[in-house]
Symmetry: D2
Subunit: 304 residues, 4 copies
């Protein structure tokens, strides 16, 4: 759920490392703004090995819905976002078999910012050929999430797996305001840097759609952001003799890593999360489960 180095779970943020108008071979990007919903939707497609390498993410489609409405409890905006989520789910699974769907709520129900997956599962409407499970995390069960899901997939044999998880972002503004959808699957706890086994077509033999929302940033992000603000101000005030000389020949990533290393041991054991995270998780889980329920009943209706 967190980031080591300058890690982010969002393809969108990986793309932002590069200049806006620079074309990256193998990466396509498309951005739209919906005035009514006040929502920016960005589709990043990684279409070849070069794109994979440049972005550090597997080939596939990454859809990002960004809106500050996401945090809120207003029923109407929740419904609108849920409908958007449904249509993106229909789009991203257009050519995939989806008679039997297994929905997986990743994360730890006992740790609020990591509880998005399990809470979403609590609101899924079970029906014929719609299954769901919250497998818990390694620290709770002693088992890799991959092993639990692999076992269940073998018994149930679903066509499609949809996994919901809390993500890590690099940019504080993205926390709890962004949903990412991808057809590339997910590696539970990937942000933590443990090289766990991913949930994807290769490992499970089934299509895996992942839905994620960034819930935390690391302490290093805050230091980094603050320092950037400091340097920005210093740059305008002083011309010489300043901190930018000292850190000036560091790349973005090197600076971030420096701050990471400078974090005290205690701080590493902490995360940075919104003050009203309990309420936000409840609202988000309702919006996402609503979108999933719409998607499942839409899919079921077409089967009949």
């Amino acid at each position: 759920m967190e980031n080591k180095n300058i890690y982010t779970d969002l393809a969108l943020e990986e793309r932002e490392r590069f200049k806006k108008n620079v074309e990256i071979e193998g990466v396509k990007i498309d951005k739209k703004y919906d005035k009514n919903l006040k929502m920016t939707t960005t589709v990043v497609d990684i279409i070849n090995k070069n794109g994979e390498k440049a972005m550090g993410k597997p080939m596939g489609s990454y859809i990002t819905m960004e809106t500050r409405q996401l945090k809120n409890a207003q029923e109407e905006s929740r419904r609108n976002i849920a409908e958007k989520l449904m249509s993106h789910l229909l789009e991203i699974t257009k050519n995939k078999k989806k008679n039997k769907i297994l929905i997986v709520g990743l994360g730890n129900s006992q740790a609020t910012p990591d509880a998005l997956g399990p809470r979403t599962i609590d609101n899924i409407q079970i029906s014929d050929e719609i299954y769901c499970i919250s497998p818990g995390v390694l620290a709770q069960t002693g088992m890799e999430t991959y092993s639990v899901i692999k076992g269940i997939v073998n018994e149930i044999n679903p066509d499609l797996i949809i996994a919901i998880d809390s993500l890590a972002a690099r940019n504080v503004r993205r926390i709890t305001t962004t949903i990412q959808l991808t057809d590339t699957g997910i590696t539970p706890g990937s942000g933590i840097g443990n090289h766990r086994k991913g949930l994807n077509k290769e490992t499970l033999g089934k299509d895996v759609i992942a839905i994620g929302v960034p819930m935390v940033v690391s302490g290093a992000t805050i230091v980094n952001d603050t320092m950037e603000n400091l340097l920005h101000i210093l740059a305008t005030v002083k011309k010489e003799n300043d901190i930018s000389n000292i850190l000036g020949n560091y790349t973005e990533q090197e600076k971030y890593q420096l701050f990471e290393e400078l974090l005290s041991e205690e701080t590493e054991q902490m995360y940075v999360t919104p003050k009203d995270i309990d309420e936000i998780v409840e609202n988000l889980s309702k919006t996402i489960s609503h979108g999933l329920n719409l998607f499942c009943s839409n899919v079921s209706a077409k089967l009949i």
Copy 2:
């Protein structure tokens, strides 16, 4: 978690259908009372096919610990019961392989009297070769508990499975005052009369120990008990012309079934449970998890 007909999950209560001093071929019974703990421990052994048939339960050992202390929160009595539970677990698994143990919390975490299993799992100390999972119930996941557990067992390959579940009893006094331990496994939701697939050596290929506590009785039990009290009084007051004439030629079971059928449809959708069930489930889950943690660390210590 409930009873249809005159169903009970407790072997002890099955035995009580027969007269105390009548010997049932194939069934051995041994009862002890511990003054300090104010605990009655009964071991019912079903040793052959005849015993199975008489008791309506599979061959194996059924250990019942009965004490009113079980409901309470007192740390000391909780510790004593946990230690007893550990020693019964050691005894019942004496000749079984137990290097890798999977602990399964059966039941619905969202329905208090059915939440004993999941709550117990919340307090299990994970360690090397100790795994645990709360698989949810069919109504939550759309999957048979058997399928979820079978899948996980195939991936993890434990030597021993320990399943914790809420049970149904026939006698109101046993509710939340009794722990049953058995080496015969368990059928999740067996009381409900759905013929679900059991968790046992035959179906999972692994030894399965079940730990259960009766949490509910059906409305019919209450009617039955009350009617017995009524008949008892009537028998002493009136000699003729009474209700016992009417119901007199019904067997125990027939009377119970009669009351079952007379329950209104709405009443059938209800259960009878202690008023302070939330607190009791919390206390019980702590006692049982404590006993399991002691058992697991005892087993691990011997492996080293």
Copy 3:
């Protein structure tokens, strides 16, 4: 929250003790059925001392909304019921001052069927001059609910108090399918027979509206209902020599009390509640809080 004797919190059920077409002096009754909502609305008005005595309830208006939709989670029917609730609240407070409103969630948040009040409070939207509190119960706080509320009322000085509570009913069919609104206030835990101090205009010096939903029946109700079914059948089969002779000269109330006395001590410590009570409480609390939020914003809008 429960009933001793043949107690019910519902004025509607008190009225049902009398024959339908018998007029009770001092009690007016008006019943309507809404086809779309499948909802029966009954207004019982107790208008004088004779009515009070006949009904065993204080003078005032009792509005009952009955519909099986209440249990369900469907957003649309929840919204419809919430709007009805708002309009009944507006009606019943028509001539009352309501600039400052204190909403009180009575009951024990740790005991599911008694948690309706506190859960409703969790979803109330606080705004200027709208206050709310869940005071807990005597067993949690050591204080009478009356004392806690009286103290707060003295500090905050609201114009109007609205109290939400779990009720006891006599008829199993009413459990979780009925909302009662009254302008007569409420006595917390009144069903339990403890003579606690009520929350009403007399004790608090402020208008008190009570909103309640029956959540439990006592074991005696189930025995009583079952026996009635039994007698009904016996009456059609046998002509003489039957149980109805034995209990035939008991009044309804005497029979109920007989069954109460015949309940075992353990059964008295239990309640009868729907199997899916956790989910029902969640749905009900959302519907009621939605109705209250609509009422409060309607009232606030008029103030501007």
Copy 4:
């Protein structure tokens, strides 16, 4: 619960702003280390107006128990800490009337790091003359905590009030490892900078003991700590031309304020808290409630 400027709720941390061996007129300090418990206990006494001014805290006694054991779930160390807490409570209330005690759990039960107070209350054993309440926070109830407590105190008239709250600290190492006890009362949410009305002898007319544990630090603390680490390293490597020149003429407090101002708006809405905060809050609330229960039964025993 948080800090603006260089705010801390801990008297101990205020004292640390001054050099160790400098005597502050009006402030006495006494420090002890218990090897067995691995616990440092510091008593800071502010004995006059000069001490008040120097420390920015009211006159009175501040006892701080520091140990990393506090986070852990081990029953034995929890019991030891609880016993220490009891004896400090007995000491600090030695000359105070304590026949009737009201225990108040401050904070928001729905926001994990702020839920320490309400969770502690959940485990308090009510008895004759021991009362408790979780009044909620302004954002939940629309009422100042002071008003709720003042109202209840007027009705119940306790001799002594004990309030439990989550605190803000300046030093990351103190988070969830420190309990502060004081006889000076508490200002709910004081760290947030809102000038709320405090709970103390002056405002409530009763002795108020406050028990608090630091649960969060602000983002600025992390930036500050990281920058200090950076400067420390830079100081050893470079001699001139460095950041310390730039920030060198800032005081500690000025630097902190600078970082505060540089935090982005989004970051200000976030807090920094341990990853396993849910589990820590559960453990802490059990330890503190255990200590309070021991204190209350000790006090009650002496009354008889």
